[in-house]
């Protein structure tokens, strides 16, 4: 429905018939409201000159077919930490100008978690990417602007994942587009509700369609394992005064994504003294001073700054103390 542009595109006639041949038929077919007129003519004679006669003209308008197709445009499950944007296409596969009610449903059977729908957005500048402040926001459940027949819009679904997710937990969000004129079993009719006041008829899609977009929780976590080896003054491994204890701190990041600003701190145990110059990171020596390298060490403790550590990588820090 919407807008009553009169589209008399199909007058019977040679000129228009030729034009129609030049352009291939659209998938959605003749637009709603198109006037179809048919007139036959005959020529004959009754012994004299040729005469001609036209039949009456039969005419009717093409009704509006209500059909729609929704398809997720994300090639794979989107990793989600915090907020992300799912992308869908909504195609008007009917033959009239039609707005569609767009509804994103976060609770889909089989979900490990459900996201919050923050908003929908229409890809106003048509670049396929959500541009905050440029693309028109739409409340979930609101109606789109009319879409021309055979045309598609890109719909973004802005979601926020709940806190406390475990890595690799999966979720789906379903976007449904329903013809604003109405939906129903194919063949359902809405009298006079189509373009130019023609009847609207529900097509094979039921005038609504949906598709799901997938999300996967991308959570990185750190495992820190501390171990110690002792070398006593007598070559044994007894914790005697004067024995040297080597502490090893192994940090590994698991899951997916990355850990930002990861720093390993450790205090020098009581009754021990830090052995100066023994701090290492991944078998490379670090100076004790606070300088350009990643580590600092003092009588009270050590600190090694690892920065951003991607999931799947690990780092080992060692230092030595002497038992007092």
């Amino acid at each position: 429905m919407e807008h009553a542009h009169l589209r008399i595109a199909a007058l019977t006639g040679t000129l228009l018939a030729t034009a129609a041949l030049a352009s291939p038929a659209l998938a959605a077919g003749v637009t709603a409201g198109t006037l179809i007129e048919n007139t036959a003519s005959a020529s004959y004679n009754t012994g004299g000159p040729t005469q001609s006669v036209d039949s009456n003209t039969v005419s009717f308008r093409v009704a509006e077919l209500l059909d729609v197709a929704v398809a997720s445009q994300d090639p794979a499950a989107l990793p989600v930490v915090g907020s992300t944007v799912l992308t869908f296409s909504v195609t008007n596969t009917g033959n009239g100008e039609e707005p569609f009610v767009l509804t994103a449903e976060p609770a889909v059977a089989g979900n490990d978690f459900d996201v919050t729908i923050d908003n929908l957005a229409i890809d106003t500048n048509n670049n396929g990417v959500y541009d905050p402040g440029i693309d028109t926001l739409l409340t979930n459940g609101a109606t789109s602007a009319p879409i021309d027949p055979d045309q598609a819009i890109t719909v973004f679904v802005l979601v926020t994942a709940p806190a406390g997710l475990t890595d690799a937990q999966a979720s789906q969000v379903r976007l449904t587009a329903a013809s604003a004129t109405g939906t129903g079993t194919p063949g359902t009719t809405f009298a006079g509700a189509g373009d130019d006041g023609v009847d609207a008829v529900v097509g094979s899609t039921g005038a609504d369609d949906d598709d799901t977009g997938s999300l996967v929780a991308s959570v990185a976590s750190v495992n820190l394992v501390k171990s110690a080896t002792i070398l006593d003054p007598f070559g044994g491994n007894q914790p005697l005064p004067g024995a040297v204890v080597t502490f090893t701190l192994a940090a590994s990041v698991t899951g997916s994504g990355a850990i930002n600003d990861l720093t390993i701190n450790d205090a020098i145990p009581a009754s021990t003294t830090y052995a100066a110059g023994t701090l290492t990171l991944d078998a490379g020596a670090l100076t004790d001073a606070a300088d350009t390298d990643a580590g600092t060490a003092s009588a009270s403790g050590i600190a090694v700054s690892l920065g951003t550590v991607a999931a799947g990588s690990s780092h080992t820090v060692t230092f030595q103390v002497e038992i007092d």
Binding site: T12, A17, N38, Q51
Partner: protein, 157 residues
């Protein structure tokens, strides 16, 4: 007031008289009457049945039957009787029939199999149903009072 009313009445009378006269002058020996119906398949108790209905709620892909009834309303024999029907641009011929077709806007007619279409690059290909712009029936001779009808099936583009 009265004279104005009279003027209106006489105008109406004049129109009534003029109409049959005009008809008589341009009277045709043949009358043509067109009709269109939509062909629907209705499923009843598991069996499909084809019915013809008035063309309401017609959507792309629907099948239509266009018919033209003719009658020789004169007392004379009608000869070289040819009915030509340009196809509405919004429909495509659904099936071949006992008629000649044109794929070039009525410049030439023939059987679909005998016609070809010239492509943009100058090559030609056999004509298809979708190329048909006109259908034509040649009935040659109609005796006084003879009547009949011709039909073609088309699908909404």
């Amino acid at each position: 007031m009265l004279s104005r009313l009279f003027a209106v009445l006489s105008l109406a009378l004049a129109a009534q008289i003029a109409a049959p006269m005009a008809l008589a002058q341009g009277q045709n020996a043949v009358s043509l009457s067109g009709d269109v119906q939509v062909v629907r398949t209705i499923e009843e108790n598991g069996t499909a049945r084809t019915v013809l209905e008035p063309p309401t709620q017609v959507v792309p892909g629907d099948r239509l039957v266009f018919s033209t009834s003719y009658r020789n309303t004169s007392g004379q024999v009608v000869e070289d009787f040819v009915i030509t029907n340009p196809l509405p641009a919004a429909v495509v011929l659904a099936e071949n029939g006992a008629f000649a077709v044109s794929v070039d806007g009525a410049k030439s007619f023939g059987s679909l199999a005998s016609l070809s279409v010239t492509l943009e690059d100058g090559a030609t290909r056999p004509a298809e149903l979708a190329d048909v712009t006109h259908v034509r029936w040649t009935l040659d001779r109609l005796e006084p009072g003879a009547s009949g009808s011709v039909t073609y099936f088309a699908t909404i583009r």
